[in-house]
């Protein structure tokens, strides 16, 4: 989230697109309701009429996988009707920047595409620069090579008629919605976008999000109260887990994982530390060396010295894509000896799960650390498997649940809140930290005995006490970071062992340790900031700066320097996030993105400090699949792409042997959640009170498809895709309607993905049907749009 939950109340228009907060983030509705009470409008854009749609002032139905077309039309509308927040767009975004003459877009492909590797080389997507390295710009937004004009041209193709032809949305509905949302380009209006998996689980997932961001930048809605693009995070601590590097390509604090070409620290830092020639750019990532060295010091402590590159050599280097789909592909090829599932249930939650399950058969050993006996932990018992032929040795370790342990948990609004232990772990259960602590200690012993390359393990700075439960307080202190010796930074003197007050004081000389620079400030000399529960709210804006702590540096709304005009005056006087006090020459309100003075004063910096050029990117050269979002059909689609001849995202992650058949599987399938169940279901399908509410795997279809297939409410049906077949009870509902796409009627088959063969409530897993195809940038599987068929009767019939 650029903003935070409480801030949603300040929105004039809230668009839930690709998310269903009423069902999946019910508490958010407290703030959505507040916004509505204040006259705000709620818009729901979803293929189905959900519990969120039920609460919305406006609802638009769209075909799964067509958000870019939907948003493209909105961008086109804003540009055509000049509804942009001009001052904002010119001063804070890269709209005025000139793009290389080599950049072009042709028949669905951006310049630089290489068919062989299905990837782009991005040289032609560069800014034009002068001899001093300064980017060329046209503040009148007239130059045909400026981002604004390129964008205008690109999206002029997204006329409302064309859009609705692709998305299947009712044209009038669409126009009305677009008008409402795009009315917030005025400085005194704000709109927010709440998105989640309906947006991201596509082969164009990242570009979907990009399209939201572009629209919000054009309307001047990023950085302001009630604005932003807000990812409604999923698993309760998924924000924390990404901050702490659960993904294969990042280290804590979103530092890059070294690749095999980053042969030493110098090479690594050179490659990943962005530079700028613009003195007005803060280029915050320019601090990468300080953060990286502090992290290495956190890993290897005393052993990490300037002489040995702070043990950089100990870091594993990656030589390819280790995203989920790729790992699972390798698993199926017998590429792993062992697997640890710590709080995950891949043979229910992964794509094309039958294949993943078969991959597990090839393991020598597998460990599941979970609260429950998950499907994965008993994979050999799955229907159709023959346990006699499976040799995997399996261990199920009982994990303590969130209420049985202490620690921080970060919510979508980046607030790291400390939680206390409510009860002792039941039975033999142990916290994940305790298990990891035991493993590492044991590993250290073993590696010390006869490790092949023992250094990375034996040298690990691992000192969290000798109790069974590691001292989680020590972990938090290390994450924040401390000084390894008496030092002076920025004129301030610090003692050895003192906590680093904020990441501004981190150093690249080994004098500081920080396990995660983003969390530097969360545990200072004043104590554990995440434990704070202050209810003061001086600005009355619901920022609650004394309630827990949020990264970065307790800033509640990111890019808040863009919420003010060039003089530092809030665009919206009614709902200021920050404003410049000329008398004190200080910012008031939220913690600003850097304390530099307003844009009209010398010594200022551009507001988008994490971006090397300092401006919000309408044109983004960093992505794998193009600088502008472009509509492509999902990998499995019942229709041809009517924008260009390029059917689907050319850079998407698609296995070579992928096949599909739109004649055999004519319906658009999608998977989603219901309030009553959690994810792969172990946590809820074992609880009678929740099973009572949703006892069966079910599939939702509209009345027309039901009639065509002779299906009645409650019937059992079999749903098939090119990957497999499942059975489910049929919910016939007027809330799902067929869509007319390019003159063709397209029926939808929606289903929950919470079920599996084990537990109190059992049922087929929807992921038997989904394809292991992934987004070009993140590799997230396309679970929201695939092709399927449905027929009456269970699988045996």
């Amino acid at each position: 989230m650029t903003n935070h939950w409480i801030d949603i109340q300040h929105s004039d228009v809230i668009m839930c697109i690709g998310s269903n907060p009423a069902e999946n983030h019910p508490v958010s509705f407290k703030y959505i309701d507040k916004a509505k009470d204040n006259g705000g409008k709620l818009i729901s854009v979803d293929p189905r009429f959900t519990r969120t749609s039920a609460k919305a002032d406006m609802y638009a139905q769209l075909r799964p996988g067509t958000d870019i077309a939907f948003l493209g039309g909105m961008i086109n509308y804003v540009l055509n009707n000049d509804l942009i927040h001009k001052e904002y767009v010119v001063n804070y975004t890269n709209a005025a920047f000139l793009i290389s003459d080599d950049f072009e877009f042709n028949e669905g492909l951006f310049s630089g595409f290489d068919k062989g590797s299905s990837s782009y080389s991005k040289e032609s997507w560069a800014y034009q620069k002068d001899e001093n390295g300064m980017i060329l710009r046209d503040d009148n937004l007239k130059d045909p090579r400026c981002v604004y004009q390129l964008m205008k041209k690109h999206y002029s193709r997204y006329t409302p008629e064309k859009v609705c032809d692709i998305t299947g949305t009712d044209l009038n509905n669409y126009l009305q919605l677009v008008k409402t949302f795009c009315s917030t380009g005025r400085p005194d209006k704000s709109a927010t976008i709440m998105y989640a998996m309906g947006t991201t689980q596509h082969t164009v997932g990242t570009q979907n999000v990009r399209s939201y961001a572009m629209l919000q930048l054009l309307l001047g809605n990023v950085g302001i109260a009630g604005g932003g693009i807000n990812a409604l995070r999923g698993e309760s601590n998924v924000q924390g887990s990404t901050d702490y590097a659960i993904l294969y390509h990042i280290l804590p604090g979103y530092l890059k994982v070294p690749t095999h070409t980053n042969t030493d620290l110098q090479a690594y830092l050179k490659k990943w530390t962005p530079t700028t020639d613009d003195p007005q750019s803060a280029n915050w990532w320019g601090n990468t060396p300080k953060y990286m060295v502090s992290l290495l010091k956190a890993y290897w402590g005393e052993a990490a010295t300037a002489e040995n590159d702070f043990c950089y050599d100990y870091l594993p280097k990656r030589s390819g894509n280790y995203s989920y789909i790729k790992l699972m592909e390798r698993l199926q090829l017998g590429g792993f000896e062992g697997l640890i599932n710590m709080g995950t249930n891949p043979i229910v939650g992964g794509p094309d799960v039958q294949q993943i399950a078969k991959g597990l058969d090839k393991l020598k050993w597998m460990v599941s650390v979970d609260l429950w006996e998950t499907e994965t932990s008993v994979f050999w018992r799955r229907p159709g498997a023959d346990p006699k032929t499976i040799d995997t040795e399996v261990f199920l370790l009982p994990a303590a649940s969130s209420i049985e342990k202490e620690g921080s948990i970060s919510n979508s609004g980046r607030w790291a809140q400390w939680r206390y232990q409510a009860i002792k772990p039941v039975g033999d259960a142990k916290s994940d930290a305790a298990m990891l602590d035991m493993w590492v200690k044991e590993l250290k012993k073993l590696y010390a005995e006869d490790g092949v390359f023992p250094g990375p393990i034996t040298d690990l700075a691992w000192d969290y006490g000798h109790e069974e439960e590691p001292d989680i307080d020590k972990v938090a202190r290390e994450c924040n970071g401390f000084f390894t010796r008496d030092t002076e930074v920025k004129g301030k003197r610090f003692k050895k062992g003192e906590q680093v007050p904020s990441f501004a004081y981190l150093k690249d000389d080994g004098s500081t340790v920080s396990g995660n620079w983003l969390y530097c400030g969360s545990y200072t000399e004043k104590g554990n900031m995440m434990k704070r529960r202050g209810l003061e709210d001086p600005g009355g804006m619901g920022a609650y700066h004394n309630w827990s702590w949020c990264w970065p540096v307790n800033r509640r709304i990111l890019y808040n320097r863009a919420s003010v005009d060039l003089d530092g005056k809030s665009f919206n006087q009614q709902k200021p996030v920050i404003s410049w006090n000329r008398a004190t020459r200080k910012w008031e309100g939220d913690v600003p993105d850097g304390g530099w003075p307003p844009m009209n004063e010398p010594g200022t910096k551009s507001p988008f400090i994490m971006i090397p050029e300092g401006y919000g990117r309408l044109f983004a050269a960093g992505l794998a699949d193009g600088p502008f979002p472009e509509h492509y059909e999902p990998v499995e689609s019942p229709v041809d792409n009517c924008m260009t001849a390029q059917q689907c995202n050319p850079a998407a992650m698609i296995p070579a042997d992928f096949f599909s058949d739109s004649d055999k599987y004519p319906y658009v399938g999608s998977t989603y959640r219901v309030t009553e169940h959690w994810q792969a279901g172990a946590m809820t399908r074992n609880l009678p009170w929740l099973v009572e509410l949703v006892p069966d795997m079910f599939v939702e279809i509209g009345t027309t498809l039901a009639k065509a297939k002779g299906l009645k409410n409650g019937d059992m049906a079999t749903i098939t895709s090119a990957r497999g077949a499942i059975e489910a009870r049929v919910l016939v509902t007027p809330r799902i309607k067929p869509l007319v796409v390019s003159g063709k009627t397209v029926e939808q088959v929606g289903m929950i993905w919470h079920f599996g063969f084990n537990g109190l409530a059992k049922g087929s897993s929807a992921n038997v049907l989904t394809a292991a195809v992934g987004d070009a940038n993140t590799g997230i599987p396309e679970s929201k749009a695939f092709l399927c068929d449905i027929r009456k009767g269970g699988m045996k019939s």
């Binding site: 039920a54 609460k55 949703v694 409650g714």
Partner: protein, 284 residues
């Protein structure tokens, strides 16, 4: 000290259905607080994701789903059903042994120790709230007790505490006021009625809705308190008894008096006759 003793009036629930997302946290919280077992369900037992079908001995509150089309728009609505904690409750009035009791704090509570299990409360309640332990050999009645034990401990009801968006709890007049303010501020959002304000003579559960209540299948209930329908008849009981008894006594005495008089007259006549006969005999 409980809340009502401070405010001096019963507390009420305000359930704003325009803010209810049908998340059913309230249902689970209720089961958890009251330690009620889950029911066996199969698929869904009503529109939408309805489950269980209705309140029961093991389910004190249920979210009723409605899904239908109206003017070409989908309507998907959620309505929390629970005891209404009527101001003048039918269940209290019909129970032959006073097992129900309206507390000053608002909740209508039940004393299992005195209940004889006649189920008149179930017939009487206009909202069909009291449910029976059909599974037991010697069944009792069960229903939402407004989390009275929590109220006594100065906590809010479990369902209110769990509800992310739709419920408020506090002194009834204050709840009515909040509801009226919402109606005034957003007249286009709401049906201009606070259900429960006057229904059944007023209840401690108040609703706001954007859809007409009948469309959500709220029970249609008279505005008069239900006991006011039986009391006029029952009030007459002593009078009728007195009238019938005195009337019949009088009638009996009267009818029998005539008879006695006649008998006496007959006797006299006989005596007279005898006397005359005697006299005549004597004469002769």
């Amino acid at each position: 000290m409980s809340r009502a003793t401070i405010s001096g009036e019963p507390d009420a629930f305000l359930i704003d259905l325009t803010k209810c997302t049908g998340c059913r946290g309230c249902m689970v919280a209720c089961k958890q607080w009251n330690q009620l077992p889950a029911e066996e369900t199969d698929f869904f037992s009503g529109e939408g994701y309805q489950n269980p079908k209705e309140m029961s001995e093991n389910t004190y509150t249920v979210i009723k789903f409605r899904e239908f089309e109206k003017n070409g728009h989908s309507i998907f609505s959620f309505y929390k059903e629970m005891c209404m904690h009527c101001d003048d409750p039918a269940c209290v009035s019909v129970c032959p042994v006073n097992a129900f009791h309206k507390t000053p704090e608002g909740p209508v509570i039940y004393d299992a120790k005195v209940c004889i299990g006649c189920r008149f409360c179930m017939i009487g309640c206009p909202f069909d709230v009291p449910k029976y332990e059909w599974s037991k050999k010697l069944p009792l009645v069960r229903k939402c007790d407004g989390c009275y034990s929590r109220i006594k401990a100065d906590l809010k009801p479990a369902c209110v505490t769990a509800c992310p968006s739709a419920m408020e709890y506090g002194p009834r007049s204050q709840m009515v006021q909040i509801a009226e303010e919402r109606l005034k501020r957003h007249p286009d959002h709401y049906i201009n009625t606070i259900y429960g304000k006057d229904e059944a003579g007023g209840t401690s559960v108040l609703y706001l809705s954007s859809e007409p209540y009948e469309e959500l299948r709220f029970p249609s209930v008279p505005e008069r308190p239900l006991p006011s329908y039986t009391w006029p008849a029952l009030r007459l009981v002593p009078g009728i008894f007195a009238t019938v008894v005195t009337g019949l006594t009088a009638l009996t005495l009267f009818n029998h008096r005539k008879e006695r008089l006649e008998r006496e007259r007959n006797k006299e006549k006989e005596a007279e006759q005898q006397r005359t006969v005697q006299a005549e005999e004597d004469k002769s």
